[in-house]
């Protein structure tokens, strides 16, 4: 297999050739590993710059793609950690206890300077690769770790409402269905109607399934016990950015005090703070073919929805359940503070 290149990866991302966020995460990690292993770099700082270039390129071209950027941030954190532990091991200059590099200086323009890791450490490459391999293992089992929580979260004869297609939620429900007997209502997820696919898959594994329109979530909500959805991104304030229709669903759940769980691996936790990036689609997605619509009618199609943190009960992650108000803490564990700006 040809080595992954940045250009290929971005092209693939641009042409929407990835099936899921999981594959985006895995592929971007492969790209980062390739950069660490094969690119020519001497000092930690050089490596950090190389890695951050991926982030910059993605954010300039596809600002709505958060997963690859999260992966880069995670890799940066790994490099910095490995560097500091290396330095700590090699030279005893470390007086404060853990960090040898100077504290982060915030650029007034909003840009963030990378921590200085100027020493050339021969074994840094291997150590970083080792840590990345570890992280890859974590990444690969994250779905499984979430799915096993299914049976503990769902009880017999419950009515679960879900929305659109999400492989993770499907795995979660499928696993739960082995022990529990419950009913799933699927909102169809216009205009892509991936909910149809979800309903089909659910009924195939023997779960009693009902398909409803997106706008019919409110009348259904009174009989629902739990709402379980996936997401594209978890924002730093604890809200989520996901497919269109989720906000209405979440508000309805809030109105009926139905708990809303979001299944998400930790790589979807993003430093992005708000609903600022909305990716706009084309009117042809919602207007049926051969509909003569005068050009004076303005058609606006957005692709993402924002669910505020107060409408999210909890995140089901591969680590543990995380409440929206604790997302910021989790972020500071995942990513380097240098790459963390709110």
């Amino acid at each position: 297999m040809a080595p992954p290149t940045k250009q290929d990866f971005i092209n693939k991302l641009r042409l929407e050739k990835f099936e899921s966020e999981q594959s985006k995460a895995e592929e971007s990690l492969a790209l980062l590993e390739h950069i660490v292993a094969n690119a020519s770099w001497q000092t930690g700082s050089e490596l950090l710059t190389l890695l951050r270039n991926v982030d910059i390129e993605v954010s300039a071209k596809l600002p709505w793609e958060t997963t690859p950027r999260n992966m880069v941030q995670r890799a940066l954190k790994i490099v910095v950690d490995e560097y500091s532990s290396c330095v700590g091991g090699v030279s005893a200059m470390n007086t404060s206890g853990h960090h040898t590099f100077p504290q982060v200086t915030m650029d007034p323009t909003g840009g963030v300077e990378l921590p200085k890791c100027d020493q050339a450490l021969p074994d840094l490459r291997d150590r970083v690769l080792e840590a990345l391999a570890e992280y890859r293992a974590e990444l690969e089992q994250s779905d499984e770790l979430i799915a096993v929580q299914g049976e503990s979260k769902i009880h017999n004869d419950e009515v679960i409402l879900t929305f659109d297609w999400c492989g993770l939620v499907l795995a979660f429900l499928t696993r739960a269905a082995k022990k529990r007997h419950f009913h799933v209502i699927v909102a169809e997820g216009a205009p892509t109607y991936q909910g149809h696919r979800m309903a089909e898959s659910l009924s195939r594994v023997g779960i009693q399934t009902t398909l409803i329109q997106d706008c019919a979530v409110f009348p259904m909500m009174s009989r629902v016990n739990k709402v379980i959805i996936g997401t594209r991104t978890v924002l730093s304030n604890g809200g989520i950015k996901t497919d269109l229709g989720a906000a209405a669903l979440a508000s309805a759940a809030k109105f009926y005090c139905v708990p809303l769980y979001v299944c998400t691996p930790t790589y979807k936790f993003s430093r992005i703070s708000g609903e600022e990036v909305n990716h706009c689609g084309s009117g042809s997605a919602i207007i049926p073919i051969n509909t003569p619509l005068p050009s004076s009618v303005n058609v606006a199609v957005s692709k993402f929805d924002y669910v505020p943190p107060e409408n999210v009960t909890s995140f089901i992650t591969n680590n543990r359940g995380i409440a929206p108000s604790y997302v910021y803490r989790h972020l500071s564990e995942l990513y380097d503070p240098a790459a963390y700006h709110v």
Binding site: F18, T291, S295, N298
Partner: protein
Amino acid sequence: MAPKVEVHEESSILQAVILTECDIDYGTAITHYNPKVLVPLANTPLLDYTLAWLERCGVDEVIVYCRTNTHTDKIKQHCKRFTSRREDCGIKVMVVVSEDCLNLGDAMRDLYSKSLLKDDFILLQGDLVATLDLQDIVAKHKENRLSDKSMIMTCVYVNKPTETTTTTAAMEGEEERGKEVTATLVTAADTGKLLLHRRTRSKSSKISIPTELFQASSDLLTYPAAYDPSLAICSEVVPSLFSDNFDYGSRDSLLRGVIEQEELLGYSIRCQVVQDGYACRASTLQQYQRVSGEVMRREAYPMVCESSLTSHRIRYTYDPFTTTYWEPSAKFTKGNGGTSEVVVGAGTEVVDAGTVIITCKLFQRGNGGTSEVVVGAGTEVDAGVLLTASVVGDHCTLSDGVRANAAFIMNNVHIKSGCKLDHCYIGDDVVLEEGVVVSSGCVVGPGVRLGPHVTIPPGTQLVSRPPSSTPDHHDDFDETTRVKEADPSICGVKGKAFILLPEETNQDDDDDDEESSDDDGRSSGQDDGDSEDALMMMSDDEHSENEFRREVQESLMNGMSKKSAAENMVLEINASRHAYNVSMEDVLTTVTQGILRAGQKQDGGTEPTWPGINTALKCFVDVLRNYVRKGRDQLLVLNAIEKLMVDSPEFLPATQKILFNLNQTFEILEGEVILHWYKKGGAGTTAFTTIKTSIAQFIEWLEKDSEDEEDSEDEEDSDEECS
């Protein structure tokens, strides 16, 4: 995810041929400075749309085919830039330059001889903006080719829902456009084989289908007006077919040839009418405007204005509510009554964001909701500017009070306050001083200065330099343009502009406009607005007609003085007729009038006298008789005489005698015909009423004559009366 891609890599590489010398172009004022394919549409060159689409569809190699001219290097550089951005790992772009490529057929023959095409390839024009699923189309083509080896080409058509909306707006010269870009298709329902291909011409609601088509196939699918994006998937047979048949100039001629000689060649053509996806050619400026609007309305998604097609970066901020795009560095100066509560987008300065709201208000006021505006980098737009359906390039300034509707403003343009722009194209570095009004259909070439306070009439093409006096122009340009001096009454006191007369650029096929002469009489190539088009057609016709008239007159005068034989005269006139491609009717009109005028001139005086006319008539009676064969021709003679009276009323007194002699002496006009003509009110010109009174006597006599036909005395009586 991965296997999907690899399936395609297994098969041989997919090639595409882009013809940059499109059959129709935008007129010299634009294409002299920039090749058509590099004209920016919504601030992105047209070629980029095509390349980006092909890249997206997994095409491996693109051959950009162009002709050697001043723009070749520009195209080469552009393609190089496009691929180097992709670090040469994406699509491969090859620029093939040919010395003498005049049309699609030549290009195919050339590529065949260079054997650059290995397998099935996609053939398209460089001005196409499309989002069709090419992989699907190519897969279907291959599938069909496997089952039927004789199938050599798949023509792709689009069933455009938007077509209906444009036909309602037909007043904007859409008929002309419809003729060029749509085709009537009849296909076999089961195989999709193309049985009939016709460019739509008639306005009637009926389509005639030859009955023999029904014998061959039981199910026929008919598409009365399928939009033709000039897109075809060709097998390797197509170029060889072109090289075998040197008369195939365009794709249409190939279609015609293959369909008509199916038994002979043993080939067939499939057509596929695609329902979803977007495809439209920005072939003329009208179409350019339309495509521009559709791209701004995001119909060509995922090719949208805010992301650059070269670098894929997000370059513009997009407001879906008003369909406005602006580069973050564009400045919208704050006007009075602005609101300050704004959500600041990433990378947008507060000043900009605040004022965008204000301009949005302006946009809405102008066009009831949608505005569709693209504003490029570093452009400054004052608060009082009203933009609708317009594109503004980089580093422009638009001062207070500028109104622009469907204006395409390129880079570094400065427009001072009070200017009004409507449906026009403003080239690079143009300066419009205060109060300039640019009417619809105008093209203002790069570097032109206009104003202050001038109004440019509709359909004018302006260039900055008198084309013939500049040394760096290639020769054909000089020949084909007529130049006026920079006239302050046209371009204003501070202005610097020359009108480029459009009539002759139409005729030249030396310039970039390659295939117009070959393409089924699509004569009016570079139309802009309908007004300009009409103007162009009229002046063109009139021009050749005048020439013809002059020549006929000359030969008649010569013939009269030399007393040439009638058949020689006819020969001479017919030669002129063929030279100017004049219809038979016009010949008759011209000859009739010519003879009468010859009589006048022969006499020497300005006043036409009967004796002079009589000699002329006597002299040329055989010539005239040669042309008058049917009753209809007699009517034409009568009409011609009437029209002559409109132009030169001095013939009026002689009319009665002319008619009488033509009727009685020379027996060219029958009495019945004259009566019929008279009763119908002649040709309906203004002169008829006066003619009516002057020939009343003659008519009266004719009527009597037809009542009692045998009465010969009567004839003699009136003979005396008349003479």
